[in-house]
């Protein structure tokens, strides 16, 4: 980017600046449709929920540190345990990776100026925030969900759980699901349609493939959760019968529908981590990913096969053996795309000249933990072993290694990696390495002993345990590990906060990354790119000639699109430019729709169904108002 920009180019940049600038201050944030600002909103919100979920985890660990402890009452324990799971999964990992990372990065990586539906993007955020607050209101009312994150019936039926606890869960997750569905549609269309000229499918960054797979999974997985929750609410509050045997229902129906969603869900959690790993590894190994097409295919395959394995969560429910065997076979198959990727990552590092900076170290930790957690996953596919280990701490160990170690580590690494892009400053490398080792050791110490106590017979979801079974020492070490882990996390956040204000300036591309987000300034301007970049490979930022051509085009005024709020749309497979879209700007209506929807859900919770209908009407009116502002057409 050494070529200097001259007078006419600068004029054009100024014009873009004027067109894309958003109102300042709180109002600006409330009405924003800029994917970067929405990404940041997601980031801070999910971080807060992470803090909440983490505090819940620490309380759990404190209670379990020794036998017969009395830190938490059984009821409080159940609520914290459930909220911990629900928070971490629905309010932290998914919105963090999809909402924050996806939102901020996808348009930048594909060379677009915004998401396909910017206002719907804002709506997704506000709905997400509202659903999170909705669920957390229950904590302050001491009526938090308390039947575990998969909320099995009959325990969750009114007979056994008469309070509002489960209604918060069911309505909150339906609410949350609307937000995720809107986000997923937005990502798919963005990835399909807004790619820079020349970025055909096979040149799309692997991060985008991962996000595409995630979004597709959400589209097909969420409905079964939603409908399951609808059944639950209908049964709890209106006396329908889906889950009780006496009237022809079946408690296992809940489980089938839940896991039909729940297993794809776990790949929804891990896929963004794959995406982040495949962004960080090439940059610091200074080479392209090995077996690129295979990795892209694997990302899509894992999401696809993930739909056929759900009953492996039900191996002890007494389904016919033939059914179990089918699902075990599918669970074995789903492993293959993961092994492909694990070897692609490690071989890429081995073949490159890797520079072990903090982001890459986190990816190293991710690979170690992913393999560890994945291997215990394979063990569960051996039915007799699963039938012994299921519902014990062995399962807790499996999924924390694979969720915390494998899904969250890349998120942490990604925070370091893209920090210079978002803030324009560098983080502190030494502190970052220290924080890696703390979290790494903490994670191993927290979750590894869980395998052992699981085999020693400790069931999960117990608020306490007797001293006679020899579980105490392991539990204590887990608790100590959790606090070490927390120290590591706090160090990361401290590093980022400190560097935000004191870090050295980063420049546009401190790590020489290969994808397009590094082709623009740090932080990126509201319009992302002064010129829409054109692309000829999967690592366009390493094609220096193309980037010089961008500057030349700015001079000529080609592909600058400074006639309005514009971004190009292209064909789905080959990314041939098709039309120039006029994008909507900031709008108050998404927030208004979210407010009406929140009131709707509050009314459903308090069983004022008629009032709820009124708010549904208001929400529709707000949607109408939103759509009555049309883009200018020429």
């Amino acid at each position: 980017m050494a070529t200097t920009v001259t007078e006419p180019g600068l004029k054009r940049v100024e014009r873009l600046e004027r067109i894309w600038v958003e109102p300042r201050g709180v109002l600006g944030w409330l009405t924003t449709t800029d994917h970067k600002r929405i990404g940041l909103l997601y980031f801070f919100t999910t971080l807060a929920f992470f803090g909440a979920g983490g505090i819940e985890a620490l309380l759990i660990r404190t209670q379990l540190a020794e036998p017969n402890a009395k830190v938490l009452s059984p009821e409080t324990y159940d609520q914290l345990m459930t909220m911990h799971g629900v928070t971490m999964i629905f309010l932290f990992v998914i919105p963090m990776s999809l909402g924050a990372f996806g939102n901020y990065l996808i348009p930048l990586m594909i060379g677009a100026r915004d998401m396909a539906f910017p206002r719907m993007n804002a709506l997704s955020y506000w709905l997400f925030l509202a659903s999170g607050l909705f669920m957390y209101a229950s904590v302050f009312l001491h009526a938090a969900p308390n039947a575990g994150w998969f909320d099995y019936v009959p325990l969750a039926l009114k007979q056994y759980d008469p309070g509002r606890n489960i209604d918060f869960y069911a309505l909150g997750l339906i609410f949350n699901g609307i937000s995720s569905t809107a986000a997923a549609i937005n990502f798919i269309v963005t990835i399909f349609k807004l790619r820079a000229p020349g970025m055909s499918m096979n040149r799309m960054p692997l991060f985008c493939f991962a996000m595409l797979a995630v979004s597709l999974s959400l589209i097909f997985a969420l409905p079964s959760l939603t409908i399951d929750l609808v059944y639950l609410e209908l049964q709890r509050n209106l006396g329908f019968h889906f889950f009780d045997v006496a009237h022809g229902g079946d408690p296992l129906l809940w489980q089938h529908l839940f896991w039909l969603f729940g297993h794809p869900e776990v790949y929804i959690i891990i896929l963004p981590a794959f995406g982040i790993a495949t962004s960080i590894i090439p940059t610091f190994s200074k080479r392209k990913m090995i077996a690129f097409p295979l990795v892209a295919l694997a990302e899509l395959l894992v999401a696809f096969i993930g739909f056929g394995v759900w009953a492996h969560h039900m191996f002890a429910t007494g389904l016919p053996t033939i059914t179990l065997v089918f699902f075990a076979a599918a669970s074995m198959m789903v492993v293959i795309p993961s092994t492909i990727q694990v070897f692609a990552w490690t071989v890429t590092v081995a073949l490159g000249r890797p520079e072990f900076r903090a982001p890459l170290m986190f990816i190293g930790g991710f690979i170690v933990f992913f393999v560890l957690g994945g291997l215990t996953g394979i063990m569960f596919a051996a039915i007799p072993f699963d039938q012994a280990a299921t519902d014990t701490y062995f399962v807790v160990a499996h999924f924390h290694f694979i969720i915390f170690g494998a899904a969250v580590f890349p998120i942490l690494g990604g925070m370091y990696y893209w920090f210079p892009k978002v803030t324009g400053r560098l983080y502190h490398e030494g502190l970052a390495k220290l924080s890696f080792w703390l979290t790494f050791v903490g994670t191993a110490l927290t979750f590894f002993p869980m395998h052992i106590i699981g085999l020693l017979g400790m069931p999960r979801r117990v608020y306490t345990y007797p001293s006679s079974l020899g579980w105490g020492a392991y539990n204590l070490s887990e608790t100590i590990g959790a606090f070490i882990l927390t120290a590591g996390l706090l160090l990361i956040f401290w590093n980022l906060v400190y560097s935000r204000f004191r870090g050295a300036p980063a420049g546009p591309d401190p790590f020489f990354g290969g994808t397009l987000e590094w082709a623009t300034t740090s932080p990126p301007p509201p319009y992302n790119f002064p010129v829409i970049p054109t692309v000829r490979s999967a690592y366009p930022n390493w094609d220096a000639e193309d980037r010089r051509a961008d500057v030349a085009r700015l001079e000529r005024g080609e592909l600058v699109l400074d006639g309005g709020h514009e971004t190009p749309a292209s064909t789905v497979v080959d990314a041939v430019p098709d039309e120039v879209l006029e994008m909507p700007g900031e709008s108050p209506w998404p927030l208004a729709v979210a407010v009406c929807t929140s009131l709707l859900f509050i009314m459903l919770l308090t069983r004022h169904y008629a009032v709820a209908g009124v708010f549904a009407g208001f929400a529709l009116l707000a949607v109408a108002a939103w759509h009555s502002k049309e883009p200018q057409e020429t």
Partner: protein, 198 residues
């Protein structure tokens, strides 16, 4: 508003790929289809869990009226498609007429269906058995979709009162697509509803 129907027709002809709005709707339809797939799946799951379906005391579904009504509803796919074709060639009045026809028929359908629904609720309330629970959930979800689809048409009719733009054209295309989907659903739903007769 500088756009004219002729300009819209020009844009339509020049397009290489389907617009964002169409894709958005297509993916929305995919998730909706999954939703209905799950509901219908539940219907059969519960059915095979029960010896008597419908349970004793609950009348079997009637055959002719639901079939006739569904046929009527499905036929509205024709005017919907006509509206799209007309509009994309710049013929707005004709498109509006077709939309109006469709929405009137749909309203008739919905009115009849709601009437039948209420009648059935009195006869065998959803709190009676798993059969009636899933029966009413399935039909209710379907009616809700018909209602939303009608709102979309009414919205398009309202907007196109002041002329046609590419933005509205995209909206119309998406709405028509949604209606074709609802009609396919209607067939699946009525098929399941009547399945105990088979």
């Amino acid at each position: 508003m500088s756009a004219t129907p002729a300009a819209v027709a020009r844009v339509e002809r020049a397009r290489l790929a389907r617009p964002n709005g169409w894709w958005g709707m297509a993916i929305f339809v995919a998730t909706e289809a999954t939703l209905f797939g799950t509901i219908i799946g539940t219907y059969y799951y519960l059915r095979f869990n029960n010896l008597h379906w419908p349970p004793p005391g609950v009348p079997e579904p009637k055959l002719t009226l639901p079939l006739v009504l569904t046929g009527l509803l499905v036929s509205t796919s024709v005017p919907m498609q006509l509206a799209v074709n007309a509009a994309s060639r710049g013929k707005l009045p004709r498109a509006r007429a077709a939309l109006l026809l469709a929405v009137v028929v749909q309203a008739g359908y919905l009115g009849m269906q709601v009437h039948l629904f209420v009648h059935d609720v009195h006869e065998f309330p959803p709190s009676g058995s798993a059969y009636s629970s899933i029966y009413f959930t399935m039909l209710g979800a379907h009616h809700l979709h018909v209602f939303l689809g009608m709102l979309l048409i009414l919205w398009i009719l309202l907007r196109t009162a002041t002329g046609l733009t590419s933005y509205r054209m995209n909206g119309l295309r998406a709405t028509a697509f949604y209606w074709h989907f609802i009609n396919v659903l209607a067939l699946c739903v009525v098929g399941s509803q009547l399945s105990p007769l088979a």
